[in-house]
């Protein structure tokens, strides 16, 4: 089945044990309204599961939603796994409860952008527009 190459595909992932889905769902709905295809992984995904789903679903972006404080170790693990799979160019964004000082560290690991709670719709959509603008 041909998929519309023009639609951006996003994997909205809940890594680790955190069970809160409000932000993940709100952002997924925002992105779907903006014309993107969002695959929501459901809860309790391991890094391996996230990477294999990302490959299987041929996504353009991986979005991690984390509210349990484990954003740094999990992002590290994800970036390492992506590198192993030769996917270091697949952008990763992280949202949730992220103290400001951790944003810099996350970007240092290779995370493309960080969206703490109540990030504006504008900034989130702006990221996608910038990243995937048609030349």
């Amino acid at each position: 089945m041909d998929r519309e190459k023009s639609k951006i595909r996003v994997l909205m992932a809940k890594p680790g044990l955190d069970g809160h889905t409000r932000g993940a769902k709100v952002v997924a709905m925002l992105l779907r309204d903006a014309g993107m295809e969002v695959v929501y992984t459901g809860l309790r995904q391991s890094i391996d599961q996230i990477v294999s789903t990302a490959i299987q679903e041929d996504v353009d972006v991986i979005a991690l939603s984390i509210l349990s404080g484990v954003h740094i170790p999990l992002s590290r693990k994800l970036m390492a796994r992506l590198k192993e799979e030769g996917l270091e160019n697949l952008p990763v964004i992280v949202g949730g409860i992220i103290p400001t000082k951790d944003s810099a560290e996350l970007k240092g690991i290779g995370v493309a952008e960080v969206f703490p709670i109540h990030s504006s719709f504008e900034s989130i959509l702006g990221f996608f527009n910038e990243r995937f603008k048609k030349d």
């Binding site: 044990l17 069970g19 409000r22 709100v26 929501y40 349990s68 400001t100």
Partner: protein, 550 residues
């Protein structure tokens, strides 16, 4: 007393002569009612004081569940706490109690809540993060070391693994020489809301409900002072649902648990007195106070009329309230102290029986000692420096408040009927419609925030360039995992592994044959079986919950 007709006439004149002379803004309730500019006795002309409002401690309990309310007993200041190692949590509980915290409220880490041991490689990053790590009875013994179980009550925010934690608490009590008939507290044990909003469920719905039923039944005989469930609306509200839906889902879940217990042949008056509730207190002060009063009244009517209870104790909605963490903002976090004050005041004005006040750094991390102290002091200042506790239900009789109480009751009843007509709450959870409804409402709320329609000071109005908070945040200690692994290894070496094997085998049998699992779980816990070992047996028999696609 004024003639109502006279009041209505005067109001009409006032609107014409005074109010409508100048423009004024609209206001509405969160469910869309237009609000008048002022409320007066004519708004309550159909309200029957004796029947609908009544007196505190008396059916329908609109004004509170106890006759003298805070003059008989102040609300319990119960700050949710726990992190890292059992030793750290023990020290932290003692710190809180030294500073006036009146009851313990234990926060467990996610592995403990979801039935994984600290030595499971899948969970290493989550060990000790959002609460204390508990693998075996040894950890619980340390948490409560030097804390007399006959002198305090403890609330446990624990759901699918509640039977295990209950068993551990009983065992700790036993070692202290305190019988299980004397220990008291609350088990959250509200599995339905996990599927809806909180996400720590392990097993499918049916066996999970069976475990809830096992606890209700077991405690009736063996742990009579334990509140067996804390039925929650709070989490769905934090997940984004409306005030009306917070009460709706909470009451529908409560009805499901009651039907569960009744099916086992228990009498309503045998277990209903030990059901308790948890709802949030938020910023819309009047709607919130009205919400608690409406919920109490509705609950009393449901227990009396629908379930034919005879004991007044069964009809009392004892309420723990936590200020909504989602009302706290990351920008200009000290503003959250003002927000916490308002929301805590709401809980006190609403006659809640226990209160948790979050700390101002809630948007970032679990609290520091400094920030949790401010939160505790907020409760103490309201309790001792204001006159809120001088009388029961001090806002009662406010024309606006009584009007809102009536309206919320009506809207909740309507929503409950709608869901029940569609097949009930269990069906709604199974087919994902509740989860979708909550997500839709969350999106709508976020849209209003993004557009500025819903004002958040410092966030979408009066925004400055102030840098994000750079104050001290709670730091998880570095050796949590190492300490837990060392202890767990030691426990496994020192315990009677044959006894553990037998105990687990017994759990397997009882899980399959349907009788009460508390007995076998208690035996296993006393033999130092781990949370993970017990849950793995149950996973094997019950299977694991499969989330439906979204």
């Amino acid at each position: 007393m004024d003639d109502l007709k006279e009041i209505e006439k005067k109001k009409e004149n006032w609107e014409k002569e005074l109010l409508n002379q100048k423009k004024y803004s609209n206001a509405s309730t969160s469910w869309g009612d237009d609000l008048e500019v002022v409320y007066s006795p004519d708004n309550l002309k159909d309200t029957h004081y004796s029947k609908e409002i009544g007196f505190p401690g008396d059916f329908p309990f609109t004004r509170g569940v106890y006759p003298s309310m805070y003059r008989g007993r102040l609300w319990t200041m119960r700050q949710y706490a726990g992190f890292g190692t059992p030793e750290e949590s023990n020290a932290h509980f003692k710190y809180l109690m030294e500073h006036g915290n009146m009851g313990l409220s234990v926060a467990f880490d996610l592995p403990s809540q979801i039935g994984f041991d600290s030595d499971n490689p899948l969970v290493e990053d989550d060990v000790g993060r959002v609460g204390v790590a508990v693998d075996t009875l040894r950890d619980m013994e340390i948490i409560f070391d030097g804390i007399p179980l006959d002198k305090i009550t403890t609330s446990f925010t624990i759901n699918p693994t509640a039977p295990i934690i209950l068993a551990m608490y009983m065992a700790v009590g036993e070692k202290q020489g305190v019988s299980s008939k004397m220990i008291g507290g609350t088990l959250q044990n509200d599995i339905l809301k996990e599927y809806m909003a909180r996400g720590t469920q392990i097993f499918p719905i049916e066996p999970s409900l069976r475990l809830v039923g096992d606890i209700i039944e077991y405690c009736k005989e063996n742990v009579p002072r334990m509140n067996t469930v804390s039925i929650c609306g709070y989490h769905m509200r934090e997940a984004g649902c409306s005030i009306i839906h917070e009460v709706t889902y909470c009451l529908l879940d409560a009805i499901a648990y009651i039907e569960l217990a009744l099916k086992r042949g228990l009498d309503i008056d045998d277990f209903a007195p030990r059901l308790s509730f948890l709802m949030g207190c938020g910023m819309p002060l009047f709607e919130e106070v009205a919400k608690f009063r409406a919920a109490r009244r509705l609950w009393a009517k449901i227990i009396k009329d629908r379930f034919k209870a005879k004991k007044p104790e069964s009809m009392k909605m004892r309420m723990f309230s936590g200020c909504l963490g989602t009302a706290f903002m990351g920008k200009e976090p000290l503003n959250n102290i003002s927000r916490a004050t308002i929301m805590t005041l709401v809980a006190a004005l609403a006659g809640c029986n226990a209160i948790h006040t979050p700390s101002y750094d809630e948007p970032y991390e679990i609290p520091t000692e400094e920030s949790v102290l401010i939160a505790l002091r907020t409760q103490q200042i309201i309790a001792h420096e204001t006159d809120v506790t001088s009388v029961a239900d001090p806002m009662g009789g406010s024309y606006f408040l009584e009007h809102l109480t009536n309206r919320i009751e009506e809207e909740v009843e309507k929503e409950m009927a709608r869901i029940e007509e569609k097949g009930g709450i269990l069906k709604a959870i199974e087919n994902g419609s509740v989860q979708r409804e909550i997500a839709d409402q969350a999106f709508e709320l976020e849209r209003k925030i993004q557009s500025g329609e819903k004002v958040l000071v410092g966030v979408n109005r009066y925004v400055t360039d102030q840098k994000e908070y750079e104050g001290e945040l709670h730091q998880p200690s570095k050796d949590i995992l190492e300490n837990q692994l060392l202890r767990l290894k030691k426990v496994k070496e020192e315990r009677d592994n044959e006894a553990v094997k037998q105990a687990l085998h017994e759990i397997n049998n009882v899980a399959s044959d349907g009788s009460n699992l508390m007995g076998p779980i208690l035996s296993a816990v006393k033999a130092y079986a781990t949370v993970g070992e017990i849950c793995d047996v149950l996973r094997n028999v019950f299977g694991e919950y499969q989330e439906s696609a979204w």
